[in-house]
């Protein structure tokens, strides 16, 4: 674990990449970085500083899909969140699951529910949504009002057939 304050070290390592550093309280730190730099900062925190990856949060805001990587420095009682923005209408960001295997499933989840494309993800397939959920409908975007997309009886039967054939091979 880092002897120096990890926030200090992140600041020194990426002096021109940090857009904003907000120490909300001694235990909660938010760092905003550019979309292309997020992966490097995440790698530095996880591999060099030994932070524990908690989870990612993605939320739909007016500016685009905001993505937060939450890290925990357990011995220092600090939760550091790396914040970045994937602009609409085609949100896209580099995957971190090659660095952190534990991030594979949450990236698949975010891909399902908010439509963020994680570049170079090893297996970016359906995880949360059903196999018969239509493409391009993202339930956790604010525009989605919570209805299940309507489908006629015949369409439903076709979908079932397709899925069955996928599983039986």
């Amino acid at each position: 674990m880092a002897e120096l304050n990890p926030i200090q070290r992140v600041k020194e390592k990426f002096p021109d990449k940090i857009a904003e550093l907000w120490e909300r309280s001694p235990k909660r730190i938010y760092i905003t970085v550019g979309r292309e730099d997020a992966k490097d900062v995440v790698r530095y925190l996880f591999e060099d500083l030994g932070a524990r990856f908690i989870i990612m949060t993605a939320l739909d805001t007016r500016q685009g899909i905001e993505i937060l990587y939450h890290f925990s420095f357990d011995t220092l009682s600090k939760i550091v969140s790396i914040r970045t923005l994937a602009p609409m209408p085609f949100p896209e960001i580099e995957t971190v699951s090659l660095i952190i295997p534990g991030a594979e499933y949450i990236e698949r989840e975010i891909h399902d529910i908010l439509g963020v494309n994680f570049r170079n993800h090893p297996n970016l397939t359906r995880f949360i949504l059903g196999d018969d959920w239509p493409e391009g409908v993202y339930p956790y975007r604010k525009e989605h009002k919570g209805q299940y997309p309507y489908r006629t009886e015949e369409e439903q039967e076709l979908f079932r057939k397709e899925i069955r054939s996928k599983w039986e091979k």
């Binding site: 908690i54 949060t57 739909d60 011995t75 969140s81 956790y140």
Partner: protein, 404 residues
């Protein structure tokens, strides 16, 4: 091409899984070579629902995420909102939260212990563990009115007080539980059959535990010294004396030991809380929730619960992100299953404690010679037969007080 590969789908509806999930276990003969995970067959959209509920309503909504650790999510959520709005809760509420959370840990671990006993054919353990769990459930009924889903939490404190006339009952139950737990621990560590059945099964190395970001007893059994109760003290955990339990081996036995010792620690914490509980209010006036964001963590029986709340200044969360502990613990199966044998599937799945109940079916598809069906009963039978075989092997050596 070695032996023929066979895929065993476990789920989506299966007794081993608290919620519908699908594990596709690929085996070569007896050996497991790969496993894949699929979930959300029963996605309830709680995160989305929370966006249309007020903060006070959301507490009861997140309480419904899990039936067994039903106080963990509310505590994590109120922690997040209190972090967001900078609310300091009264001392008495801290102790009450602590007691409720620890009682829940005892009942959850006992539930797991009983089921684990059931899966490897130790039915006495099952009956006994659940009998002592009853003590805790009765306590909950006395304190909150409910055996499950206690509805004790509120932003700024707790909804209900623990009455002074209930203190002796809590202490009495703890006195009753402690010797029984010591007996259980002795029985598990002494029994050669259990050791043969559980030791070295489903190994998780320390590196994998960190890489897969596991939390809770799963991480602690692999030697990763993390515990949210100590690292991010909430409730009264920094005001009482207790210690974090870790083990080194990362196998199923280590997980059982961690959970059993945690029950003893929980008993210790509850005793101190009851003794130290100060007089005073249980709730503070909650100001309007300002715009901003808050993070709350809580150590559930299964590991760290994480809640992220974003507020836009209205009385409803703009976004609520919930990370339950099993979400990161289950992918660790990838590291733990490969190389293990089919009779051990049950106990390894069980070891992460994704809340097991009973009855469903399992299909074994044998590509090549047609389709065979393997029900959950068959899996249980396989597991029990294995235990019987080991028991025979150890006949004469047996020192266990639990052997039937």
């Amino acid at each position: 091409m070695g032996e023929m590969r066979t895929t065993i789908p476990i789920g989506p509806y299966h007794p081993l899984l608290e919620e519908p999930e699908l594990f596709r276990v690929v085996v070569e003969g007896e050996k497991i070579v790969d496993i894949d995970w699929r979930t959300s067959y029963n996605h309830r959209g709680i995160e989305k629902l929370a966006e249309s509920r007020t903060y006070d309503q959301t507490i009861f909504l997140v309480e419904r995420i899990c039936g067994i650790c039903s106080t963990s999510h509310p505590i994590a959520f109120v922690n997040a909102v209190e972090d967001l709005a900078n609310i300091e809760i009264p001392e008495r509420a801290k102790y009450i939260r602590c007691i409720v959370a620890e009682l829940e840990r005892i009942h959850s671990h006992l539930l797991w212990f009983g089921l684990a006993g059931h899966y490897i054919g130790y039915h006495t353990v099952w009956m006994w563990a659940w009998r002592y769990r009853e003590l805790v459930c009765n306590l909950f009924e006395k304190i909150s009115g409910n055996r499950q889903s206690y509805a004790m939490m509120q932003v700024g404190g707790t909804r209900q007080d623990i009455k002074e006339e209930d203190y002796p009952d809590i202490l009495k139950a703890m006195t009753e539980l402690e010797p029984k737990m010591n007996m259980f621990i002795g029985a598990v560590l002494d029994d050669p059959v259990l050791l043969a059945r559980l030791k070295g099964v489903g190994n998780l190395s320390r590196e994998d535990a960190i890489k897969r970001c596991t939390v809770g007893p799963v991480a602690r059994s692999a030697g990763v010294d993390i515990d949210t109760r100590r690292d991010y003290p909430y409730a009264a955990y920094d005001l009482v004396d207790w210690k974090v339990i870790t083990q080194e081996d990362g196998d199923v036995l280590a997980m059982a030991v961690v959970r059993l010792l945690e029950i003893l620690e929980a008993i210790k914490i509850i005793r101190q809380c009851v003794e130290k509980m100060p007089e005073g209010p249980i709730l503070v006036e909650v100001p309007e929730i300002p715009p901003g964001e808050g993070i709350g963590v809580e150590e559930a029986p299964r590991g760290e619960c994480f809640h992220y709340v974003r507020s836009d200044g209205t009385n409803r969360p703009y976004r609520l992100k919930v990370r339950a502990p099993s979400y990161v613990n289950i992918p660790s199966f990838r590291s733990r299953f490969i190389g293990e044998r089919v009779p051990d599937i049950l106990i390894i799945l069980a070891s992460v404690d994704p809340c097991y109940c009973c009855t469903n079916r399992m299909i074994k598809i044998n590509d090549g010679t047609g389709v065979r069906t393997l029900t959950d009963k068959d899996l249980l039978t396989l597991s029990w037969e294995e235990t019987e075989r080991v028991k025979k092997e150890f006949k004469g050596y047996s020192r266990s007080r639990l052997l039937e």
